[in-house]
């Protein structure tokens, strides 16, 4: 709160509850900041001895020079003043050495100066050495980094996201949000990840802090209490830490949306006890995706394309086998989810697992899946699909290779655990690849980039596979093989000032709006994917769809189309041309010279009758 008046206003008129929360976040942030200043006080304390040694050495040397008698040029005794002595000691101690002034020294003086030279050099070396050692001190540097970071965060004046845990997922998300022009703040325990932020070449400045996100103080410093904080993302690879972040966010800022990465059901349930955070479980999502891919390949294709963000290439439409027997290798969290999902689709599943898991009523083979003998037991020739879902990339790769050799027709799904193995899996060319970090990143992106996209993706599977195939074809015809921009348009008086009369006429159809502002015969290169009106949505409306004031549209298309649409909605007169074909002069003189045009409500043919 930079403005004291604003702070005063807030104190008086905010509700009591609101104030309590603000105070709570402020207190935890203050605690964390106090820790940082404590370190600086400690550093000052440690500088006491070197500084006092330096002062004492200096003063003793200066005093000595003023007390020891010297001689002037005539041989008369003379005493050096304080200023001369201080001057001589200053240049002697700093090893500059201008010589003997104001008169050449006597032997007595020279002996004293010799002693003071050695003393002062030792004093300087000690003081500067300790200062440099303190600057290198880890605690001091991290305290400085904390102060620098909290200053940067508190100066943020635009909406930002708080990303706790900057692993591979955080990096992918960071780049997507950066491309959208959204700011974010990063917390991670690993200082190499935070140092890596500088090398990641983001457009915007990304404040990052090496700190444990489980500490609410660090979250508060990272902007949990900041008014511009939009959402908190708990993306660390530690379930407990994610739970702690969800708790802190829910207790200190209950109104903030929280998205947490989670892989175990227990933790997910425990998170639900705090507000209503949305949890993303990569294995569960992969299972859902695989089910969708089995049932509706085109819907799955559209989903993955839109989730990947701008610039993503159109994924191939796979055709997983709909009936037959599947083999799931590895019965961990992924294996369990997939077995349940595949069974729900009415498919037979054989599980291969080396431990002794509690598989109920399943076809279970105990043994190491990468062992050729065990794999031969699984009767690969009569299976239709195989999932290599262990948490070891080498095992997964060898499973895929062995399965392909014995049955080239198999549908192969594999799990990639480490980012470093990506080229190997790409060369292997498996049919479905699960990369948990990417699944999470796409999911979070879909939830946060625009709420309309998230709504679209949730409603879309219900429309059926043929409908999805049609949409994919339309998008492909429009954008080519790479996804272009996705954006939101609000038909409100504030965001679209030129449309008020047109929308109120009740005859405003979508087809009239999506036209090229230069030539109304040409359509605009954009598709409206969804229209939301008072929480109700219409997916992919056609050109006859009638718009009303307050509608929100999700539009996909080229960047040029986005600019053109902005022009239509903001510049007066252009919409008029699109609807009636009448070009409204933009300058005052031409408007006076040309006859007054018809209001929008008149049918277009009446306008065309008039001589222009």
């Amino acid at each position: 709160m930079g403005n004291p008046l604003l702070a005063f206003w807030k104190t008086i008129f905010s509700t009591d509850d609101d104030r309590r929360i603000r105070r709570a976040t402020f207190r935890v942030a203050a605690h964390s900041a106090a820790q940082a200043s404590a370190t600086i006080f400690l550093i000052l304390r440690r500088m006491r001895v070197p500084l006092i040694v330096l002062i004492v050495i200096f003063s003793v040397s200066v005093l000595g020079l003023t007390v020891i008698p010297g001689q002037d040029l005539d041989g008369d005794p003379v005493r050096m003043g304080f200023f001369d002595a201080f001057y001589i000691m200053s240049y002697t101690a700093t090893t500059i050495g201008f010589g003997e002034i104001p008169y050449p020294f006597t032997y007595n003086q020279r002996m004293w100066v010799t002693i003071s030279i050695y003393l002062s050099v030792i004093g300087w070396a000690y003081a500067i050495g300790s200062l440099l050692a303190l600057l290198q001190d880890r605690a001091f540097r991290s305290a400085l980094a904390l102060q620098h970071f909290s200053r940067k965060v508190s100066r943020l004046r635009e909406p930002f996201l708080l990303i706790a845990g900057y692993g591979r997922t955080g990096e992918l998300l960071g780049h997507s949000f950066d491309a959208l022009g959204k700011r974010f703040v990063v917390l991670d325990r690993d200082h190499e990840r935070i140092d890596g932020l500088e090398l990641d070449s983001y457009h915007a400045d990304v404040p990052g802090l090496t700190a444990d996100a489980r500490d609410p103080g660090h979250l508060a410093v990272a902007g949990l209490g900041h008014t511009c904080c939009e959402a908190v993302l708990a993306l660390t690879d530690d379930e407990e830490a994610n739970l702690a972040i969800v708790m802190a966010a829910a207790l200190l800022r209950p109104e903030l949306p929280v998205i947490a990465r989670v892989t175990s059901r227990t933790i997910a349930e425990r998170m639900q006890a705090f507000g209503n955070p949305s949890t993303v479980d990569p294995f569960d999502r992969f299972g859902d995706h695989l089910r969708l891919a089995l049932r509706a390949p085109a819907s799955y294709q559209l989903l993955t394309w839109l989730e990947s963000g701008p610039g993503a290439a159109l994924p191939e439409r796979g055709s997983p086998p709909r009936d037959g027997r599947w083999i799931v290798c590895g019965y961990g969290r992924l294996g369990r989810e997939l077995t349940i999902d595949l069974r729900a689709e009415g498919l037979d599943v054989t599980v291969i697992e080396s431990g002794s898991p509690d598989v109920d009523d399943a076809d279970l083979l105990v043994g190491d899946g990468s062992d050729p003998w065990v794999l031969a037991q699984a009767d690969l020739d009569r299976a239709v699909g195989l999932v290599a879902g262990t948490d070891n990339d080498t095992t997964n790769l060898s499973l895929v290779a062995a399965a392909r050799r014995s049955n080239p027709e198999l549908f192969l799904a594999a799990r990639q655990n480490r980012a470093a193995s990506a080229p190997l899996f790409a060369a292997m060319d498996v049919d479905a690849l699960l990369v948990p970090t990417e699944v999470i990143a796409h999911e979070v992106y879909a939830q946060l980039s625009t709420p309309l996209l998230w709504r679209f993706l949730r409603e879309m599977p219900a429309m059926g596979d043929d409908w999805a195939a049609q949409i994919v074809d339309r998008l492909k015809g429009l954008c080519g093989a790479r996804l272009q921009a996705l954006w939101k348009v609000r038909l409100t008086p504030r965001d679209a000032p030129t449309t008020a009369t047109w929308l109120a006429s009740g005859e405003a159809s979508l087809g009239q709006l999506l036209r090229n502002p230069e030539n109304r015969e040409e359509p605009l290169h954009a598709i409206v994917l969804l229209v939301m009106r008072d929480r109700d949505v219409t997916l992919a409306p056609d050109d006859d769809f009638l718009l009303r004031p307050g509608d929100e549209l999700l539009v996909a298309g080229w960047g040029a189309a986005r600019r053109a649409l902005d022009t239509i909605l903001l510049v007066p007169g252009i919409l008029e041309y699109l609807v009636t074909g009448y070009r409204v002069p933009s300058s005052w003189l031409w408007r006076k010279l040309r006859p007054a045009h018809q209001p929008l409500r008149r049918p277009p043919d009446a306008v065309l009758d008039r001589p222009a």
């Binding site: 200043s37 404590a38 006080f41 400690l42 550093i43 000052l44 304390r45 440690r46 500088m47 006491r48 500084l51 006092i52 002062i55 004492v56 003063s59 200066v62 005093l63 003023t66 003043g81 304080f82 200023f83």
Partner: protein
């Protein structure tokens, strides 16, 4: 209400800690050194200040030098104290340093640069500046005494 109770609890806790400290540790060397320098700074300053304000013979430059040096050491000793009283200590010391260094600079200017030398008016300026520093040093001593007394009460 809650705040008051919290304060009361804090006081009780502090009392307990100081009780323990009194029983276990009798002399804290750091406190002795600190008190020594604060007091020495004040006494040296007073020694320089005392005497007719415009008589250079009554104000020894060596005493001024000693006062400056001891004041600087006292300032450094006050670095890094996080308490409220520590902050005020540091502030008074900085004020005394400022005034004493000002006095020393005036003294140097009068002796080396000014054509008239250390005459009555220059002496008066130097001594009056050191008088200001003396006031700050007295505040320091008062603070020291207050701190000591409150510590012994618990």
């Amino acid at each position: 209400m809650r705040f008051v109770r919290f304060e009361a609890r804090k006081c009780r806790r502090r009392a307990k800690i100081s009780d323990r400290r009194r029983r276990e540790v009798h002399v804290n060397l750091e406190k002795v050194v600190f008190g020594f320098f604060v007091l020495l700074a004040a006494t040296l300053n007073f020694g320089f200040f005392i005497g007719d304000i415009d008589d250079p013979a009554l104000h020894n430059p060596y005493e001024l030098f000693a006062a400056v040096v001891v004041n600087l050491i006292a300032t450094v000793l006050k670095f890094g104290d996080r308490t409220q009283i520590g902050a005020v200590h540091l502030a008074t010391s900085l004020v005394a340093d400022l005034q004493l260094i000002g006095a020393a600079l005036l003294f140097g200017y009068a002796t080396y640069v000014s054509s008239v030398g250390m005459n009555e008016s220059w002496t008066a300026s130097v001594v009056s500046l050191s008088g200001g520093a003396l006031l700050a040093n007295i505040v320091s001593v008062v603070l020291l005494v207050v701190e000591t007394v409150s510590f012994h009460r618990g």
